[in-house]
């Protein structure tokens, strides 16, 4: 028996009559986290982790029907017993555990294994079948600690105090992690934020995440040259009209993709900092092994590579998710 099946709208659990991170509007959605490719508007009702509520409502609409649950609390939908478990990806990100009869399936959603001061650490959830992501599923990807990267970023920023330092990063998750990592290494100077980063950061402050002081750029007088300041902005602002405000800034991008030189060149940033909210190769393998799952489905990114490696090296029944039926 399969607890989950693939449908046009995404992964479906018949026993719970619910979809996980559906790609189009459905009656009932279980949401792993509030990133746009996982949480889409228009569903009848949403089930998600309580601390993700702020960002979720901001992105999907104030008046969605949302049932929010704390981590690890079991609840029943029809014949399925469900619970959310921390994924360590962003604030309120979850793996979803589904128990139907005596079978346990876990959908990891996006996750990482490195410590992150802006969200709860990943929880190992034992299961029979694991559905894991593999965005960075190649052995060339191996992350340094956030602390090391934050130190590099601080040094880069402080080395050029004659220009503004524009650091591009995803506005939800990465930006707040950076503020928290900078705070953890003792940076006290105020960091400036692009509007898109600011709106999400508010929810992190409400959740009590310790972060370096920050302020929206828009609050500063237009005459302010912003020389010597660190500014966090989403990649979409790179080379946009918004950037004209900064005269000859130094630019950098913080992302796991920056591990490969060509990727950095093509995007046209001066500097790349390798910082990801996804698991690296070792993190992915470790997670699969620790879950104790005998059957593994791999999705996102390098699903073929990861599945083949798990089969050949670890003797697991592993396949790309598109082979689930």
């Amino acid at each position: 028996m399969n607890v989950l099946e693939r449908t046009d709208s995404g992964l479906y659990c018949r026993a719970a009559d619910a979809w996980i991170d559906p790609s189009r509007p459905v009656s009932r959605a279980l949401i792993t986290h509030a990133h746009a490719d996982h949480a889409r508007p228009g569903c009848g009702e949403y089930w998600a982790v309580d601390i993700s509520e702020g960002v979720l409502r901001q992105r999907l609409g104030r008046d969605i029907t949302l049932h929010s649950m704390p981590y690890r609390q079991e609840f029943w939908l029809n014949q399925a017993c469900l619970s959310f478990h921390s994924a360590g990806h962003v604030l309120g990100s979850a793996q979803i555990r589904l128990m139907v009869e005596d079978q346990v399936w876990v959908v990891t959603g996006d996750y990482k294994r490195c410590p992150d001061p802006s969200c709860e650490p990943f929880e190992v959830v034992p299961c029979d079948v694991l559905i894991t992501e593999a965005t960075f599923g190649l052995p060339i990807y191996a992350w340094d600690t956030g602390k090391r990267v934050a130190t590099e970023i601080r040094d880069w920023w402080h080395a050029d105090r004659e220009r503004p330092s524009l650091l591009f990063c995803y506005s939800f998750g990465k930006a707040q992690r950076l503020l928290a990592e900078l705070n953890a290494i003792g940076v006290e100077e105020e960091v400036l934020l692009h509007g898109a980063v600011e709106t999400v950061t508010r929810h992190y402050r409400e959740a009590g995440v310790a972060m370096t002081a920050s302020r929206p750029v828009s609050e500063l007088p237009r005459k302010d040259s912003l020389v010597g300041r660190l500014v966090l902005a989403p990649p979409s602002a790179h080379r946009s009209a918004w950037m004209r405000r900064f005269r000859s800034p130094q630019t950098a991008f913080a992302s796991g993709w920056m591990a490969v030189r060509g990727a950095r060149r093509r995007r046209g940033y001066e500097r790349g900092f390798i910082l990801s909210d996804h698991a690296d190769w070792q993190g992915l393998i470790r997670t699969v092994l620790e879950s104790g799952a005998e059957r593994v489905y791999v999705t996102h990114g390098q699903s073929d590579v990861m599945a083949r490696f798990l089969r050949e090296r670890h003797g697991l029944d592993a396949k790309p998710l598109d082979q689930l039926n």
């Binding site: 052995p139 060339i140 591990a259 490969v260 093509r266 500097r271 190769w281 590579v305 490696f309």
Partner: protein
Amino acid sequence: MDAFAALIEELDQSTGTKRKIDLIAGHLQQADAHDAAWTVLLLMGERRKRLITGRRLREILQQASAMPDWLFDDCQSHVGDSAETLSLLWPQLKSDIGGGIHNPGVTIWINQLGHSPPMHWWMEQLLPAVAAMEAEEQSSTVLAIWESLPNDRLFLFNKLLTGGFRIGVARGLVVKAIATGFNLEEALVLERLMAPADASEHWFRALTAAASEERGNRGPVPYPFFLASPLKPETIEDTAPSEWWVEHKWDGIRGQLIQRESGAYLWSRGEELINEQFPELIEMASAIPADTVLDGEVICWAESEQQPRPFSDLQRRLGRKNVGRKLRLECPVSFVAYDLLERNGQDLRSAPLQQRLEQLSAVQQRMDVNTAGWRCRLSSGQQLEHWDQLNRLRQEAVEQGAEGVMLKHLQSPYLSGRKRGHWWKHKRDPMTLDAVLIYAQAGRGRRANLFTDYTFALWEKQTESTSNPQLVTFAKAYSGLNDAEILELDRWIRSHTRERFGPTRSVEPELVFEIGFEGIQASKRHKCGLAVRFPRILRWRSDRTADSANTIEDARTLCDQVVKRTSSL
């Protein structure tokens, strides 16, 4: 080596030209002359013999680790460069490999590595020694070196060892840096760089010596070329037309022909000696008086024909190491002279163009017609009378098989490099747009296993709604990239595929290419409402991101301009 590695890292992380020049200049001033010689050669991408292939390096890591072959392949096609792939994989694999690499011969090298040896030791001792080793010794030495290097040095080591080191610093930038750092004229640095280079202390000292030193016989060494810039009419329209000389801009390759007692030398603009590709021109040169240096165009142009042949004919000869009788007959070459840099051993570069042209014509009259004949032609030009003449002359030039016209100031000296103001090129209106690669399809025949058929798109800006701009298919192109670029792009396509439809793949819309075409007109059959004639890839704009590509609106504007121009004729 530490200083060199630091320089490379800083260059890699800075985008401003000024900053790069300062970094290089500062480094060269500080560095030991022997090391500095290596730095200059490496920065200029001087071809070195490959010491070890990337494949061999990969074999070394693979034999020592348990990583399967296919996983190596996947990593490499994702990264695109074997030296970089290995540098990323080594830190992951080294804990599994560990011991077993200690061998007394190896230890000597590793001990020396521990004392931060100078760069020339790396280039002249370590790397060649590693390359010359027997397979087993080579493996254990490379593994031991990887083991002893910090992770951020692996890439540099692998690149130097595989001979593929290219940091992407333009030659002109290095010239500027040397000029800045050692208080020299750029022209002098360029001149000195044209002499054969070797990575020695002596060579670097000669390159950077103070300018006052006597210059000896130049021998076969060419003068730096003076380059023209695309004409900006507004910058010269206030000058008198009669100050300007107009001549055809031929579509060949720039060449400098040096005739000495010791023989003739034909140099390309890329400062390569091309005697072997054009033996007829070397024979022809014997008719030129000794110690003469001509600047001109190498072009395919038969004796009896009114017009030169297209560039593709010339290209057939450029690819050859040796040119046989058949090719000589099929693609006859000729040298079109348009400037005189030296006569009777006297450097004329500071004389005004008008005088140089007079002397050029005098030289040609003294040439032995039987030997030189049609193979040395004098470029015909004229003094401009009215500004209105310019576009008509350009049109005539295009009809006569040229790319357009050159506009040279009659009082201009022969400078070096691209200096604005004196020489302008005025080519036929180019039609180009920057477009984003969105689909790729495998080619046929020889290229059946490569993605060589590309589809490009332009942005359609949504106006009435708030939705995001969309990419709309604009043109297909099959040609214009060189083999290395095709391979690189093929790898990129494989690792950035979004969806597959039979033989076609849609790819991440990230890469920008400059697409050139011969004509553009409205078309109902095409999705974007426009059809182009003979689209081809002019270059890979790796300096651009997809959001900076052109819009359909830009293409329509171009189309309207064409319509206007034709109707006004």
